[in-house]
Symmetry: C2
Subunit: 412 residues, 2 copies
């Protein structure tokens, strides 16, 4: 299967918003084994939308569109797609009822122009939208398929997962089942080398590795006449994979390392605190991005200046003078000070140089992470490979998460 | 002028990276008065690239492409564009010398395949790239124009500003000059109402307002036979604008509020510290995103738990019990505690509910910012209009920046 992702929205052409829909859909489609050949964004413009559809079906069988399903006159996605497929728009009274009820549930009255949101091209299958007023739809003439989704990610993400992904699997003869496996502590080429016999030796299940920032991910996919058979084939392959690289696997269902860490902290009832120099609050922000972080996160201390390191974390002036702020000694004293203040079971601290220039003679990208689990302190040195401030800071946060993850492995 | 933004890169079709180039280019092109009709992303694929070019010139006169200029075989942007325009590729010895020198300056030896980066279609104008190995180029057949830029933003952003923007202005008969004016404390419709006579009454300069997150921006643009005339026309118009909405303007050259605040802090030699509850480190992270933040930022304290608010910031247990953590009283005690710890001239603190659920009976989106400038404390209450965790946290950070900005106005 080959797909074009079609985004409809003038605000993207103005650069007012980032096209995150295309990122999400690309990832999911690739995971499902669909080749994404093209992203196209056009405004709410009939002519350009018709052209984009025409070109998409020259080499793709699937179009996934997002946006332009609003109630205003600007929004002409449905009209244009109907025209392209030579279908009429029909009102669906039961959908109108759902939209009316949705407004009521929000304590609002439905405006007349929302009626338009209950009109769909003849022969459409409606894709329900419990998170907004615009339902999506699926339309096909047997050869060309289109999935039409609303623009807001909180509406189209669940719609894709609940209603598009299952239908895409059904386009194929047979059922596709796959798992996304996430690893840490092993590079892409090393991973590939270890799995090479499995990768080369079989056509189903297939194993494909992907490099993500700082870590490696791979997909194990099988297509079989029944879902059960596909699942069994993937599981059988996983048994062999776990025997080879099981130590590096931290998730078999595509969760990221921070998610796993936050879940384990909650599960084990462990509190965490952080002290940051070079990352300047980025680690605390990442943790508190997760709703419910307050259950496990006690505090973060951003000690950007040496004075702050001394007064907030009791780093000794002699240590700063003798070894500098960017040193394993300072990292250790930071994490010990944090532990005294917070009383948390796990404390993590970072100090380093995010650039752009050398600092205290320490090269850009060098940093030290101190981790304290109970009374045990570990300090590790790292060096980011790129001279890019944001990259270095994200890399440091990733290493902090990884060290917390390792520490959690040792705690029952 | 009408443009298609063409992104070339398989990694975008995999969803591995976000197409920030399209966002940047869209903004800049719109500011320059160029209509962006379409974004298209294709992989490193000759056929699809040729099709995309063909379709772009059906309704556009300009294509701006990014990506695919690397030294490997995958990168076939130049070959394909040469083919499309019917030109041959020619080696530019002086460019080869520049690339070789660039490698030397990095302490590396140029590989043989980098020679390819010094080949350009006949008749190209080279666009220099001081930030990488791949120069860009501009090619036209008189009717169709293409600007070909490398993929990495730190290479293509300066290339666009230094070499593409001036050429785009020259495409037009006459010179375009514009200013982007940023305001705070006034909504888009209010701004438009106040400027309506100026907006409606003239065709040049033109005034267009844009709503950005949390604030309003407008562009004043003039196209005249000489650059000087265009600049004078814009300045004349600005005199009238300043008389009407001058109080709300904080930047006349498109700098954002945080940038202005950081500059003023540096200029005045003022140190700042922050204490965050709901924003969980986001404010500290924003500040430390700016290189050189260490000159003005002393520390940030992320007190997520009540214990942390008490032990790190001396918030009284009675205050938390009587008024709750989400209260003006707690915000005030947080900022006073921070001031004691940090000794900074400006301290800012926030406490609130970022959702997803009501907390202590305080609604989602409610928050309090405490600001201490010298010995003077101000506490303000805010309520974000959307129930979206990230939006609420960003809105809170914006209000913190705004209050610091106001405080700086009162300090000589």
């Amino acid at each position: 299967m080959k797909a074009t992702i079609l985004t409809i929205g003038t605000e993207i052409l103005f650069g007012s918003i980032v096209n995150t829909n295309a990122v999400f859909l690309s990832r999911r489609l690739n995971e499902l084994g669909v080749d994404v050949l093209r992203h196209v964004t056009v405004g709410d413009n009939r002519g350009r939308l018709l052209k984009a559809l025409g070109q998409a079906y020259e080499d793709c069988d699937i179009v996934i569109s997002t946006g332009g399903l609003g109630p205003t006159e600007d929004d002409l996605t449905k009209e244009t797609i109907s025209e392209f497929f030579g279908r009429k728009l029909q009102e669906h009274p039961e959908e109108l009822e759902i939209i009316r009820n949705w407004f009521e549930s929000q304590g609002r009255v439905m405006a007349q122009n929302n009626v338009k949101q209950a009109w769909f091209p003849e022969g459409s299958e409606i894709l329900p939208n419990p998170n907004g007023t615009a339902p999506g739809f699926y339309l096909t003439d047997g050869k060309r398929h289109i999935y039409v989704l609303p623009g807001p990610p909180r509406e189209n993400v669940p719609m894709f997962d609940d209603h598009v992904a299952p239908r895409l699997s059904a386009h194929e003869d047979g059922y596709l089942f796959y798992k996304i496996i996430r690893t840490t502590g092993i590079g892409e080429s090393d991973l590939e080398t270890r799995l090479i016999d499995l990768i080369d030796g079989q056509t189903d299940p297939t194993i494909a590795t992907y490099a993500k920032p700082f870590e490696c991910t791979f997909r194990v996919a099988s297509k079989r006449p029944t879902l059960k058979e596909a699942q069994d084939a993937v599981e059988e392959c996983m048994v062999r994979i776990r025997a080879i690289v099981g130590d590096f696997i931290y998730s078999e269902d595509n969760k990221d390392l921070l998610e796993i860490v936050m879940e384990k902290l909650k599960e084990k009832g462990i509190k965490i605190a952080c002290a940051e120099s070079m990352t300047g609050g980025m680690f605390a922000k990442m943790i508190t991005d997760v709703p419910g972080a307050s259950k496990v996160f006690s505090r973060g201390i951003v000690t950007y200046s040496n004075e702050a390191k001394m007064s907030e974390l009791y780093v000794k002036p002699e240590t700063l003078e003798k070894y500098g702020a960017i040193s394993p000694q300072t990292a250790e004293e930071m994490v010990r000070g944090l532990s005294i203040n917070s009383g948390c079971r796990i404390c993590v601290a970072v100090t380093g140089n995010a650039g752009p220039d050398a600092d205290e003679g320490k090269p850009v990208g060098q940093f030290f992470v101190g981790l304290m689990s109970g009374s045990e302190v570990t300090v590790k040195e790292f060096r980011a490979s790129r001279n890019n401030r944001n990259y270095i800071r994200e890399f440091a946060c990733y290493q902090m998460v990884k060290m917390v993850h390792n520490a959690l492995r040792g705690i029952d």
